[in-house]
Subunit: 297 residues, 2 copies
DNA sequence: ATTCCATAATACCTTAAAGGTATCAATAAT
DNA sequence: ATTATTGATACCTTTAAGGTATTATGGAAT
C-alpha cells in the first residue's frame, strides 16, 4: 500500500464517482479503478459497492474514509512540524536583550548554541522591553531578555533574576545615603518613555529613600549612563547586576540593602512553539547566568 | 511522498546505517539513498547529518521519526479496524437465543439484516443462558438473547423485557389458583442444572404462592414443555411472553398479577467491539420486540 | 604520514508498475 | 427499444523504482 492509494480512495469516496475523481486527481479513469482494486485486494475488504451506474461506500469503506482523513491530516501536521523544527535549527535565531544584560553570559550561550546547531545563524538586537514585546508578538524575535512586568497573553515568560538598585558614583566623589544629600544631586537615567515600568520602579526606590530625583541627562542604554557618571555629569540609580559588567569603569556602587524594590529580569518567547534551539538557549542561558550569580555571591 | 519513503526513513533512522537498512528492506543501498534524498527534498529538510562514515539524525529527523512511528502504527490500526468491520458485515453473524424467544421477531430482524448487509450470513443457535454466556465470552457467539442475571465483566448487556410467570394448563382442565390445589399437581419444567437462575426464580414464585412444585418431567426447551402440558402430562409455570408464540396449542395461560417475580430477558454481547451488524441487530431487535409488546398491551 | 577498509554517493542500466488510449459491457433514463 | 453514462478490460507508453558497478571519502590501523 502507498499513500497514493489513500488519496485516490479519499477522492472516490468523497465524489462517489470514479471518472470525476480521476479528473480531480489529474489521471485517467482506468488507472484509478485499478488502484482502488489494488487497495481493496491488499486490505482484503470491499470498500465500494458498485455497478456500472452507481458507486457507494460499504460499511467498511465508510470507516476507512474516516481513518484516511485522520491519517492524511496527521501526515500534513507532521510535515509542518518537521519544517518548523528545521527552521528553528538551521534558519535565523533572533535574540533580543536589554542593554543591562551581561554580555559574557550571552557570548557563552551563543558559543554553545553554535556547537549544537552549526547551521543556526544568530541575530542579536539590543532593544527596550517594550520594543521587544512587540517584536516577540509579531514573530520578529524568537526570544527576549527583558524586564517584567509583561502584559501579553501571547508570550511565555520565565524569571531569570531579581535585581535590586544601587547608587553609582564616580570614584573619589564623597557621597551620603540620605535624602537631604540625594535631593541635591544631578541624576542620569533612562528615558522615561523608553522604559516606563523600569522608571516607575526607580521612582518608587527614590520615594522610599525620601526624595524625588532630578534627572538632568537621559540615555537609552546602560553603558552610556555609566560613562556619563564616570565622567562626573551626575550620579545614577541602576540595577546592582551591572556592577560586574564594567570593571574598567571608575565607579563606586552602593547597594540599598534595606530597600526592597527590585526589577525582575525575565526570558520571554512566544507560547506553544516547538523550537529546539530556543529550548537549548533557555537551558544554556540559565546555567551560564546562574554561574555568574554564584560568582557574585 | 509515498508510504515507502516513511518506511525507508524509519529503517535508516533506527539503524543509522544505509547499507544495513537496505538489507533489512530487501533492496540495495543506492535506491535507498535516493529515496531518502527524495524525501528530504520534498520536505525541504535535512533528516540525516551524514558523511561517508557516520550517519546521525538531525533534530528535525529525530522529530520526524516519532511522527513516522505514530503514522505507521495508526495505519496498521486502521487496516485492522477495516478488516474487523468487513468481517462483521460480510462474514458470519452468530446469534444465540433461549427457547422462549419469540421467533417472529427474530425472523423479522434477520430479514432486515439481510437487506442491510447482503453478504452477511446468519447462524442461529438455540441454547441455554449459561452455554451462551460461555460462547459469548469465547467469541463463538456475536450476540445472545438470554435471561439475567449475567455475571461476566467481559459482556455488555441491555434489558429487553421483564417477564412475569403464568400458569399453563391444558384446555378443559379445571384449575384453582391456590396452594392446596397446586401442591397436588404434577409439574413440567426446565432441567434445574440447565437454567439454574430461571429455576430459582420459578421456585421463588411457587414459594410466594405457598407451595413447592413436584417436577415430574423436565425438558430443555419451551416448546417441548408446552407440548407435554397440551398432552396432559402435567402443568407448568412459564413466562407470560410465550403465550403468543404458540397460538395453535390448546392451552390456557393464567397470569399471577399479584406476584411480582419476573425474569429479565437481556441482549448480551462482548464489550468494546465495533460491529455494525451487531449495532443494527440491536436496533432492529428492539424495534420489532417493542412492536410485539405493544400488540400484547 | 600512509594504507586500507568501510560506507555513502554517483552513473547508468533493467524492470516493474503507474498512467494513458481505445473499447466493452451494463445500467438507468427517455 | 434506444441512447447516454460510466465502470471494467485489454493493451500500450512512460515513469520511476530497483539493481550493478564504481567512485569518493572519512576513520582506523600500521
Amino acid at each position: 500500500m502507498e499513500l497514493r492509494h489513500l488519496l485516490y480512495f479519499k477522492a472516490v469516496a468523497e465524489l462517489l464517482h470514479f471518472s470525476k475523481a480521476a479528473v480531480q486527481l489529474h489521471i485517467s479513469q482506468p488507472p484509478l479503478t485499478r488502484q482502488i482494486k489494488e487497495l481493496e485486494k491488499e486490505l482484503g475488504v470491499l470498500l465500494f459497492r458498485r455497478n456500472n451506474k452507481r458507486v457507494e461506500l460499504t460499511e467498511a469503506g465508510t470507516y476507512f474514509l474516516k481513518e484516511c482523513d485522520t491519517l492524511i491530516r496527521q501526515l500534513e501536521r507532521s510535515k509542518q512540524l518537521v519544517k518548523q523544527i528545521h527552521e528553528s535549527t538551521s534558519g535565523e535565531f533572533k535574540i533580543g536583550y536589554i542593554s543591562s544584560t551581561p554580555k559574557t553570559a550571552l557570548a557563552n550561550v551563543l558559543k554553545a548554541l553554535r556547537q549544537r546547531y552549526p547551521l543556526l545563524k544568530t541575530r542579536l538586537y539590543e532593544a527596550s522591553t517594550s520594543k521587544q514585546i512587540k517584536a516577540l508578538e509579531e514573530g520578529k524575535l524568537d526570544v527576549g531578555i527583558i524586564r517584567a512586568p509583561i502584559h501579553s497573553v501571547q508570550l511565555h515568560i520565565e524569571s531569570l533574576d531579581l535585581d535590586k538598585f544601587a547608587l553609582v558614583c564616580p570614584v573619589n566623589m564623597p557621597y551620603e545615603l540620605n535624602a537631604a544629600w540625594l535631593k541635591e544631586q544631578t541624576f542620569i537615567s533612562y528615558n522615561s518613555n523608553y522604559a516606563p515600568d523600569y522608571h516607575n520602579k526607580l521612582l518608587d526606590c527614590c520615594n522610599r529613600l525620601g526624595f524625588y530625583p532630578e534627572i538632568m541627562h537621559e540615555c537609552n542604554n546602560m553603558h552610556s549612563i555609566l560613562c556619563m557618571v564616570e565622567n562626573e555629569l551626575g550620579i545614577a540609580l541602576v540595577p546592582v547586576s551591572v556592577k560586574d559588567q564594567y570593571p574598567y569603569l571608575k565607579l563606586v556602587f552602593t547597594e540599598f540593602s534595606n530597600i526592597h524594590v527590585s526589577t525582575e529580569i525575565v526570558l520571554a518567547h512566544h507560547q506553544h512553539t516547538i523550537h529546539p534551539a530556543l529550548n537549548y538557549f533557555k537551558q544554556m542561558y540559565n546555567s551560564f547566568y546562574n554561574k555568574n550569580i554564584d560568582r557574585l555571591v
